[in-house]
Amino acid sequence: MIPGKYRSVSGRSANNVNCGLHLVIQTSSLPEKHKVEFKLHRDTPSFPGRLLQHDLERNYSSRQGDHINLVSSSMPSFPILHRSSEEKILYSDRLTLERQKLTVCPIIDGEEHLRLLNFQHNFITRIQNISNLQRLIFLDLYDNQIEEISGLSTLRSLRVLLLGKNRIKKISNLENLINLDVLDLHGNQITKIENVSHLCDLRVLNLARNLLSHVDNLNGLDSLTELNLRHNQITFVRDVDNLPSLQRLFLSFNNISSFDSVSCLADSTSLSDITFDGNPIAQESWYKHTVLQNMTQLRQLDMKRVTEEERRMASVVAKKEEEKKRESQKQSLLKEKKRLTINNVARHWDLQQRVANSATNQDRKESASPPQDQDCCQTEGSTVSPLPEDTGAVDSGLSSTFQGLSVIDTHLVEVDGDTLSLYGSGALESLDRNWSVQTAGMITTVSFTFIEFDEIVQVLPKLKMKFPNSLHLKFRETNLVMLQQFNALAQLRRIDQLTVDPQGNPVVNFTLWKYYVLFRLSHFSMQKINGTEVTQNDMIMAERLFGILAHIASSELPQYRLISILGDVRKKQFRYLLETKGKKPGIVNEENNDSKRLVGENTNRATLNYTTREFYNEKLEDIKEKKKFCKMYMEDLMKEATEINMKNEALQKLWPQMFIELVRDAVIEIRNKNSYMKLCLQQITDQK
């Protein structure tokens, strides 16, 4: 069959009508009045639907139907059509019966050569009585009330079937129309594409303005060039890659929201023209470049030519998206790892706490039993409880699980903009790392989690030096139990904000803890504690509550103790400086000035220090040694003193007697003056 192009033009005004297909049938002479020109036209194809809807109406508005006579037949339902023989000869192959208010197809008698039949704009409900027109090539039933495709099984020559604007619900009964070139079913109620697989010559399929919700079942349409699916409810499209000739696909005004639902389009090599406007996908920011990236064969998108520039942009954007996706994947992996590490650290911490608690309980139980070491029981009260060396099975069982856990990461260090987060006691070692000045300078918040506060205290000097801008400290699960521990924070340069999370820090349960912090760290002029602003009243209250403590601590301590306590603090600082080698003298002086300034600001508080438990226990050990020595020394002194005292007392007792005897002896001696004189002289001569 010759695939022709169809176009109909009104009488004189040759409108540049956009036609879908241009099927042209050459006619012989054309009278002026009834000009129905069918011209061969190779034009860019357009929409048969539109043409047929708008332009034909325009064209034929003035046009009358062919001069026909409708004579009622013997059968009451079907009128019989007669044409004058003149007309028959003039227009032998075409018959126009539009706007004839037909409700049924009339019986067309004696027109077996008919090739074009036009029933537009009537009220026909069923296609009937045309089975005899076996030469029919063009059948136009646009704008009727047909509910079902039927009665076409004999029209084997049919090439153009126009059934637009009817009430057809299903595509069916097209089996014999194998020569079909144009099938127009726009404006119906079709819900599914089916029964078209045999139409291998079909070039234009118009299913616009139907009720299609998806597109599939398109195999077999090997010649299909144009598929119009506008104004449906399509959400996904399949099988388009099975259409080897498809060049134009119109999907405007449907319900497509992602490219995945039309992914088969990417595989179609023949597609060059596609429209998506009016779909949700067209509103997306990634719409254009996604389509262009996936359909590189495209030449027109939404009726606009695709430029090289656009294509390039699309690939660039696509690459960026790919990278972004990879990045986010990496990020999520990292986050997962972080989460696992933190969980691990938390478990470690819990285990540690339980071991420590069971140790304290065991300690208490041991001391409840008959007394053992009398001297150590004094100092090892339940607040200062080291792990006893000889606990039973409980401890060993726990410690073995301990080792099992250490295989995985046991600590985590994270820098996030201006926050440094440390999880687990192993993380404290990371402070020794070489931090770049820029990174270290940016850190304003340091957060400690799952680390013993005593351990944190030991690294505070390092923190002070390496992160000079850290103004906000956060503690969570750090075992802050005593108010005293806050004294340790005084050695920092400055703190603006302090956050102590109630979780894992029992000290927060005390009603006065904030006031104590404000009091002890008053020289920092802290702005916020646990998120709440510090008011003048708070500071005054803190001063009121604990001011006397400070006063007594500073003014009533004997001089030497004052020096020793203050000296202790500074000694520690100096010792730390010595340990970190390579420090220029300049820095030492700075430290010095710093500490002087500190001392100047809160003289009376400086004596309130905190020594971690281990240091304290070490000190106590030291003390024991010294005290033993002192005791021995004093005992010696005392023995001496008591001896002397005894001797003195004994002397006191004996002295009267001794004195009397002395006097008596002397008196007896001097009794006889003469003999005494002689005796004395004798003694003197003896001496010589």
Binding site: S367, T383, T607, Y616
Partner: protein, 318 residues
């Protein structure tokens, strides 16, 4: 002082009773600890300061628990120091839990044992609901007798247990425990059995105890007074009334009477000065108002002289 009984005692007994050796030993120990600093201004001055502070009761500040517990005078000084330092907390009206009081105690003595505080709390709360809040004065007086008479109380507890279980109270009871050890609480009387022990029997045992005891005991006369008022009493009831008895407090001499507990005009004055100073101190950092105060001026000057001392010379690295 110059009574003949004094001379009748043998030397070591005399010394032991007055705890002279304890203080001498501690003085020597302090000397050892601080010999570099002390050498600066002479040993005689050191000893003067030391014994002055012993007299004033400031020698126990920030010392280890073993020292604070060593002599009754130490204990009394500690109680007084605690009162003076934290009177303001009580004045503020805050009710605190046992743990919070323990925290405050730890501020003055870092290794103060929790058990003592717990026992003191039990006296206030009558062994009930240990997490209850206590007022400052209640806690302080209970803590006073628990701490000052801790050995005595341990023995009394033992006696009470025996009486409860019906054992012969006149058997010799040697106190085996020192204050730090954990003691079983005497159980309250079961239902059906009348609570506590008979007062007169109890008193007799206590009388025996006080005669034999080498640790300090509350004055027997007062104990008699308390026990004569009731027929039967429980252990904690006895302790409670002991703590609340003003005579016991006066006999101890560490704390003022309950009514005057919140009064300390000298300290209040000082506090006001501190508050004002801190207010001025906060806004303009440079401006430090030097207010001449009646109390503590000398001390403050001393401290400031301290900070202006030639410290840098000490810390220059070689």
């Amino acid at each position: 002082m110059l009574s003949p009984e004094r001379l009748a005692q043998p030397d070591h007994e005399y010394l032991a009773q007055r705890h002279v050796l304890t203080y001498m030993e501690d003085a020597v120990y302090q000397l050892l600890e601080n010999r570099e600093d002390v050498s600066q201004y002479g040993i005689s001055r050191f000893f003067t300061e030391y014994f002055n502070s012993v007299c004033q009761g400031t020698h126990i500040l920030f010392r280890e628990f073993s020292f604070i517990q060593a002599t009754p005078h130490n204990r009394a000084s500690f109680l007084r120091a605690f009162w003076r330092c934290f009177r303001t907390v009580g004045k503020n009206g805050d009710l605190l839990t046992m743990r919070e009081y323990h925290c405050l105690l730890q501020l003055l003595c870092p290794d103060f044992p929790l058990e003592l505080t717990q026992k003191a709390a039990r006296i206030v709360l009558l062994d009930d609901a240990m997490d209850c809040l206590m007022s400052f004065s209640d806690f302080l007086f209970a803590f006073q007798i628990q701490f000052y008479y801790s050995e005595f109380l341990d023995s009394v507890a033992a006696i009470y247990q025996d009486l409860l279980s019906g054992k012969n109270p006149n058997t010799v009871i040697v106190p085996t425990s020192s204050s730090g050890q954990h003691r079983q609480r005497p159980a309250l009387g079961e239902a059906g059995v009348p609570e506590g022990v008979e007062a007169s029997q109890f008193y007799q045992c206590l009388e025996n105890l006080c005669d034999r005891h080498k640790y300090s005991c509350p004055p027997l006369a007062l104990v008699k007074e308390i026990l004569s008022g009731v027929q039967r009493l429980t252990f904690y009831g006895f302790l409670g009334s002991l703590s609340k008895h003003p005579g016991v407090n006066q006999a101890l001499g560490a704390l003022p009477d309950k009514g005057d507990l919140m009064q300390d005009p000298a300290m209040d004055e000082e506090l006001e000065r501190l508050v004002v100073r801190s207010r001025l101190h906060r806004t303009p950092r440079q401006h430090r108002a030097q207010e001449p105060g009646a109390l503590g001026t000398q001390r403050r000057d001393k401290l400031e002289a301290l900070e202006r001392a030639p410290e840098p010379s000490r810390w220059q690295p070689e």
